[in-house]
Symmetry: C2
Subunit: 381 residues, 2 copies
DNA sequence: TTGAAAGCGATACCAC
DNA sequence: GTGGTATCGCTTTCAA
């Protein structure tokens, strides 16, 4: 059997109370006894049972972390950040991978609830009402999602999108396609909103193309995609205003020409799964739009595009530029290397833990940074 | 405060003992009371506190999982397998990423010890003596490592290596380079041993080249690498025996010609870090050996090779064939797609959990499978 | 400065 | 069948 506090007490010839104090309130014990107890403790290899401690203190020293899919290279970065910060604060981490199944998440959180001091939740798809109910039951920090009533850590999507579009515009691109992620995903909604905001495009100037994984023939598979929603500007019928389709390249942090104003045509492709296969599936349709550049929902989708383009003999960036989101390690390993908007992963994880350890109702927004690599180049080769 | 068993007991008008029984030994309670208690429990949203339960039962319902680096795409697969099986068995999983720091592992295990029923340990580098000490303290299953005294789950490296070499030989390759992983890694030692066994090459017939990340000029950086060890056959000075350097292609499961016997020259490169950068660093030295095919310690290293070859204008597989180990998802996404020896990841994780839940001192060996993709082709273009 | 004892939430044993 | 209670390992009053 494992060594308990009583074993230490007996061996040191003191009471259990003294052992506790010697270990956690050193100044409330005579130096001599303290050292003796500590010696005996480390001698016996005593480690307090945190579960038993938690029972009485109410704090477990554990955190929960829920992610949708560890196989998506975006998440290990977050997990590592959470772990690193948690260990610094002497906390252990329960990890649960929900396999992209939002329905399982609430159950997992509740199962963990009694064993943790709080939960870091990466849940792009759980319905907001459910999320709110959960946040009321247990201390919780959201990562890459924001809802009223819960602290969260996100990134400056709007700024990131601005950097991305400015970069492409500076390279001469005017027809830009966007491959959307899951409609229900918060991150996708934010990206679409940012993109529309940045391009200031009206409903009229925006083309749309529908699509769906596994059923490319069904035009109605994703109703609502490509149609204006109440999130963006209201639709305008008629000619686009000059304001509606212009973007000031000078906003860019990439050093593009200042004060140039360009007309941009944003082509919104349908939703795909946020995975490699999603990109592969969307590639051919993008070519059909004759866009000169494409922004993908995330790097995995972008890699799928690159893969299919390579298979079809389409040169990147000569024939078409490709830009992703996330900055997963993989993006730097492929040829051509992927230009991407880097989202903080480790820092986001660390920040989330901090918010859990020092509860405060804030929505922390981390910076994004465009990383220019070989997959984007001048329009028209 | 959270709802406890006493709350349920009071609300149902029974004792806490009855509540426990109604929930965990249904047949020892009168159906009427059982249903009433259960109704009240779910009404109040009661979930037993597993920490308190563990205190008395001695079983926590939790598992520990320790991996060296989640950012290596090999490990998420294992983690997912462990999680899936653990959740099926109603267990939660503590995850710890040691950041490739073997020294931290023992501490992490001990910190978790009291809160888990056992630990799944992926530790290719921890010294065996330390590992053994740990295994004596807490139920533990090793993944992709084998030591006496602890149950483990590994894969048929020898068979995998045989498939790999047979494949290359069938394609006409006779000069094959191997890029080693960390010298202290169990998996690397096994791969080297398998490779030597398969090629049955003597010390004389084996060339060697030394190397090290960041100090390619230092010939002595990795003493021991490329030299025969007591793991392989003892060195022979003089002409290689025919037995020493031949391999029967017919052994292959890839359908190579039967009964052909070929002479193989194995060129052992030095150790590199088991990462993309390791492969990038080794690429140029491999070209200098004029090997027509190269087997990399793992897929990440292989991807580094591909990357550097592409940058130098070396065509794969026309100029050189590249073969990896692991089958990480990434390998299928690049151009050319990577031929690799697939190691089971999810199944290994599941098997490890099974071994923990049903303790048995076995060393389970899972099958490997060569996956042929575009990065290997006929020798000489 | 130290020890005795209550109590955290749940289970298991022993009466009834 | 059901209830009372000792117990798991630890922390925290409360006395001494």
């Amino acid at each position: 059997m494992a060594v308990t506090i009583k074993d230490v007490a007996d061996a040191a010839g003191v009471s259990v109370a003294t052992v506790t104090r010697a270990l956690s309130q050193p100044d409330k014990v005579r130096p001599a006894t303290r050292e003796r107890v500590r010696a005996v403790a480390s001698d016996l290899g005593y480690h307090p049972n945190r579960a038993a401690r938690g029972l009485i203190t109410g704090r477990t020293g554990n955190l929960g972390l829920i992610v949708p899919d560890l196989a998506n290279p975006f998440f290990p970065g977050i997990v590592k950040g959470v772990q690193a910060r948690a260990h610094e604060a002497d906390h252990a981490v329960f990890l649960a991978d929900t396999d992209e199944n939002p329905a399982a998440e609430a159950g997992l959180v509740r199962r963990l609830a009694k064993q943790v001091d709080g939960v870091v939740l990466c849940s792009p798809r759980m319905p907001e009402t459910e999320l709110r109910a959960l946040a009321a039951e247990i201390p919780m920090v959201l990562v890459y999602r924001r809802i009223p009533g819960a602290p969260s850590v996100t990134a400056g999507f709007l700024d990131g999108m601005r950097q991305a579009v400015s970069h492409l515009v500076a390279l001469g691109h005017r027809r830009i396609a966007y491959v959307a992620g899951p409609r229900t995903s918060w991150a996708n909604r934010e990206r679409v909103r940012s993109l529309r905001g940045v391009t200031r495009s009206s409903a009229f100037s925006r083309s749309s193309a529908s699509a769906g994984i596994g059923r490319p023939m069904n035009e109605g598979a994703f109703p609502g995609i490509g149609r204006p929603t109440n999130e963006g500007t209201s639709p305008r019928i008629g000619r686009p205003t000059s304001e509606g389709v212009s973007v000031d390249v000078g906003v860019s942090t990439t050093g593009g020409a200042r004060d140039e104003v360009a007309e941009i045509e944003l082509i919104e492709m349908g939703s795909v799964m946020p995975q490699f296969e999603g990109g592969v599936a969307a590639a051919d349709r993008i070519l059909a739009t004759r866009a000169t550049a494409v922004i993908a929902y995330n790097d995995l989708v972008a890699l799928g595009l690159l893969h299919r383009f390579a298979a079809r003999g389409i040169a990147v960036p000569e024939d078409i530029s490709v830009l992703g989101f996330d900055d997963i390690p993989l993006g730097a390993m492929v040829h051509p290397a992927l230009t991407t908007v880097a989202l903080p992963k480790g820092p986001a994880g660390r920040a989330a833990v901090d918010l859990l350890l020092t509860p405060q109702m804030v929505n922390q927004q981390l910076p994004t940074q465009l990383i220019v690599r070989a997959s984007t180049g001048p329009a028209g080769g």
